[in-house]
Amino acid sequence: MAKLILHQLSKDFGTGKPAVSAVSLDIREGGFLALLGPSGCGKTTVLRMIAGFEQPSDGSILYGERLLSDAAGIVPPEKRNMAMVFQSYALWPHMSVADNVGYPLKVRGISGERYCAKVGEALDSVRLAAYGDRRPADLSGGQRQRVALARCLVTSPDVVLLDEPLANLDRHLRQEMEETFREFHARSGATMIYVTHDQAEAMAVATDVAVMSEGRLLQVAAPAGIYARPEGKLVGGLIGQGAILSLPHDFSARRDLGWEALRSLFNATDAATPNADILVRPQDVVLSPEGIAATVVSAVFEGERYALRLQLADGQALRAFSRDPALPGDRVGVVISHGWRL
């Protein structure tokens, strides 16, 4: 096992705008990286370049010391020892579940007892041992997904790629599958790269999250880190819930802001200070009469609490949670216990 290195990776399909530009990323051995971004940001293209389906226009991909791809040529996918779970699952409809799972072994010339044992083991690990003789068409969406996963597992690949694997599943199944992916990662020890546009999913499964937008890599960090300290407005808006306030702020000061610091920013009148973007998470907004004035715009009951949309006196929007109901138009005071300068 070794590190997977993307070096200044670029891809231009000749459409005038590069799909991926100069993405550099080290994925540590056994890491679980989620590649997150809105649709069309180039994340799937990066994944397909790692798999070897697309050739980079520039830059290179290395697995440890081994060069996998550059603009001059590639190691074809069939020689990479990687595996992938496709969005459409890509199960072969003419083979049984067991044959689907065992195909990578068959190609490698493994047969007989060892073949059966490995296929059985892989099906066991996704709790489908009883389904080996069925056809993929007879399975539910979640079961098909698990067959695709078992097919990845069976050859102990160096790198496992997952392309929006939960996009076609309902919400209940998603949570179950997220758990399965985490288990799978812990057991296999393979390096995993997971493409998704759903930030909650990315943070739930991965050990690292890389955020992409318009072909560029914006930030890479652990889920907790990227949630607490996002870089820039794009990442701040993409990860977690929150509102971004624009307040005059001295950029040399610390980026973690408490209520004292924030209140002084609200009261600042010095026009010479440039404005900065401050991210405020809803759980850090406390309704309290001693805070600054705000008006309730809407209140949605979410079960465990109310989600409020507020408007400050200067028109800026803010989000908050509340245990008590509120009506649109209510006047409240808010204390912002924590903010983060983007």
Binding site: A72, P76, E78, N81, M82
Partner: protein, 564 residues
């Protein structure tokens, strides 16, 4: 660190050049050779003698008139069937459409024989019914009108198919909207349905015309005895009386056929211009008109037409095959299977023909399957600009009349092959090569549409599993496209087994095909044997079509030509 050479393409390096070579070898080189021979002949001035020959112009005129009249008949009959079977609540649609499609699949020379058996003074069928005209009266089909009529019957299904494809996409909501606007069924038909079906009708008419121009079997059997020559039969007779300037002459003559075909197609193109009615709306369910009290008469008319076009000729053919000699009245006493016995067990030439046709048809079907799978792979997976050009080139020999293709192949292979120094001229291999070129497009179409439906991820998953090109092809792709591949094999087999146009020019002693033998038997007066052989051929056609019918449920749309 090693230098990487391979590109991120799923095709092996040899595939694309291979496909380019096949397409050029089969579709481009022979036609260039034909054009070259024609130009040479022009430059030498041989053309003057040819063009001052009245019979050439007469043949060109005959070709034009028979094709045009045939086209009118095809459009009338095919249009009626398409409207009735697609839009109206006629009963027994499946059977009617299956029976109506049969004439296209039955070889034209067989159609001609069957109709001869149905009409004229010696018809065993008419004699049995005591309806035969007196002996010595002329066979009415040996005329321009007869040729036109049979061309019309033979190609009516082509109009039917083209029009039906257009009518199928006619959205029900469009017709319902017209009805809600207050239009009566008659007005809906006149204002909505007919204008929208014009493009399909034009396309069908063009196909019928071009097929008529290139048809050899019908004018050969009906025209040659009456000295009515069309361009294809003129080429055939020139070729039979091999002279010094033959090659140049037939090159120019087939050039004339090609020009008529191309002009026909470009008139179609112009007629279609400005008629690009992209149908908007949900085209899921097809509109259906209730015929009401008109239904029984319409159904009667359709069945009557089927009876005249198909059932009666076939019964006549059967009757001709079951009498001991042509002209004898068919009765229980005179009934004999002697003709079948003769062709199946005694005549070596028919047995050879069966063997040749079966070999040629299976070799063409399976050879084109292999070439087709590789070509479809290269064309659907490749991104280059060349792929569009290649697809267009594959269509050329199919669009051109078969006789043009055979002349082109004669010209290419008349001389010994370069490098090898062997000539395949006069052997069965030249027929096979011409079949490959002629039926490439037929065999490729089902496979390509199946490839287009395939989720690329299925193959990509196999690549990541470690499977190389050949392995993926056999384990994943071929099983997934198997129904379409089966359809392709049956279609090519069906057409190749029955064709006459290509082999009429390319056969020599020992390499006769079924089509050639039927023609020769009739030509030498053995009408009963020709009929018996035709009956067997029709039986084979029906069996193969039913086989395709069974496959149809598992095929992508549009693969089986008579189903939608």
């Amino acid at each position: 660190m090693a230098v990487l050479r391979q590109k991120a393409n799923s095709q092996p390096r040899w595939l694309f050049p291979f496909v380019v070579a096949v397409v050029f070898g089969l579709c481009v080189v022979p036609l260039l050779r034909l054009a070259y021979a024609g130009t040479q002949s022009l430059l030498r001035g041989d053309v003057g003698a040819l063009l001052s020959d009245v019979s050439v112009w007469q043949a060109a005129l005959n070709t034009l008139s028979t094709s045009l009249f045939g086209m009118l008949i095809s459009v009338t009959v095919g249009g009626l069937f398409a409207l009735a079977l697609t839009l109206c609540d006629v009963r027994g649609k499946w059977l009617l459409s299956f029976l109506f499609m049969l004439p296209t699949m039955i070889p034209p020379q067989v159609t001609a024989l069957a109709w001869i058996g149905m009409t004229g003074p010696s018809s065993p069928l008419l004699k049995m019914l005591s309806l035969a005209p007196p002996l010595g009266s002329p066979q009415p089909l040996y005329s321009i009108a007869g040729i036109s009529l049979l061309l019309g019957v033979q190609h009516a299904p082509l109009v039917y198919l083209a029009l039906r494809a257009g009518l199928m996409s006619l959205p029900r909501d469009g017709i319902e909207a017209a009805k809600l606007s207050g239009a009566s069924p008659r007005q809906v038909l006149a204002d909505i349905v007919l204008p929208l079906s014009v493009p399909g009708l034009i396309a069908g008419a063009a196909i019928a015309f071009v097929s008529g121009v290139g048809n050899f079997g019908i004018p050969a059997i009906l025209g040659i005895p009456a000295q009515i020559l069309t361009l294809p039969t003129l080429i055939y007779s020139r070729f039979a009386s091999f002279g010094t300037s033959t090659f140049g002459d037939i090159a120019v003559l087939s050039g004339m056929i090609a020009v008529i075909a191309v002009v026909g197609l470009s008139i179609q193109e112009r007629a279609l211009k400005g008629r690009d009615y992209r149908l908007i709306g949900l085209s899921g369910s097809i509109a259906t008109f209730r015929l009401g009290r008109l239904r029984p008469p319409v159904e009667l008319l359709l069945w009557l037409l089927i009876a005249i076009m198909l059932v009666a000729p076939f019964l006549a053919l059967l009757a001709s095959a079951l009498v001991p000699a042509y002209g004898v009245v068919l009765s229980l006493k005179s009934l004999t299977f002697g003709a079948f016995e003769e062709i199946l067990f005694r005549q070596t030439v028919t047995r050879t023909a069966f063997a040749n046709s079966l070999f040629l048809a299976s070799a063409a079907a399976f050879g084109l399957l292999i070439i087709g799978v590789l070509t479809a792979y290269a064309l659907t997976r490749g991104r280059g600009r060349l792929t569009g050009l290649l697809s267009a080139m594959i269509e050329i020999p199919y669009a051109l009349p078969g006789i043009v293709v055979s002349v082109a192949f004669i010209l290419v292979f008349a001389a010994p092959l370069p490098v090898l120094g062997v000539s395949i001229y006069g052997t069965i291999w030249i027929i096979l090569a011409a079949y490959f070129a002629s039926f490439f497009a037929v065999g490729l179409k089902p496979i390509i549409s199946s490839f287009r439906q395939l989720d690329p991820a299925l193959e990509e998953a196999a690549r990541l599993s470690g499977a190389g090109f050949a392995r993926r092809l056999f384990d994943i792709i071929v099983p997934l496209i198997a129904p379409a591949a089966g359809a392709s094999v049956i279609l090519v087999f069906l057409i190749a087994c029955n064709e006459l146009t290509v082999s009429a020019l390319l056969w020599s002693a020992g390499t006769q095909t079924l089509g050639v033998v039927i023609y020769n038997l009739d030509d030498s007066g053995s009408f009963d044997l020709a009929s018996a052989l035709s009956v067997l051929v029709i039986a084979m056609v029906v069996v193969l079509m039913l086989l395709l019918e069974l496959l149809a449920a598992r095929l992508p749309k549009g693969v089986v030509p008579w189903r939608n």
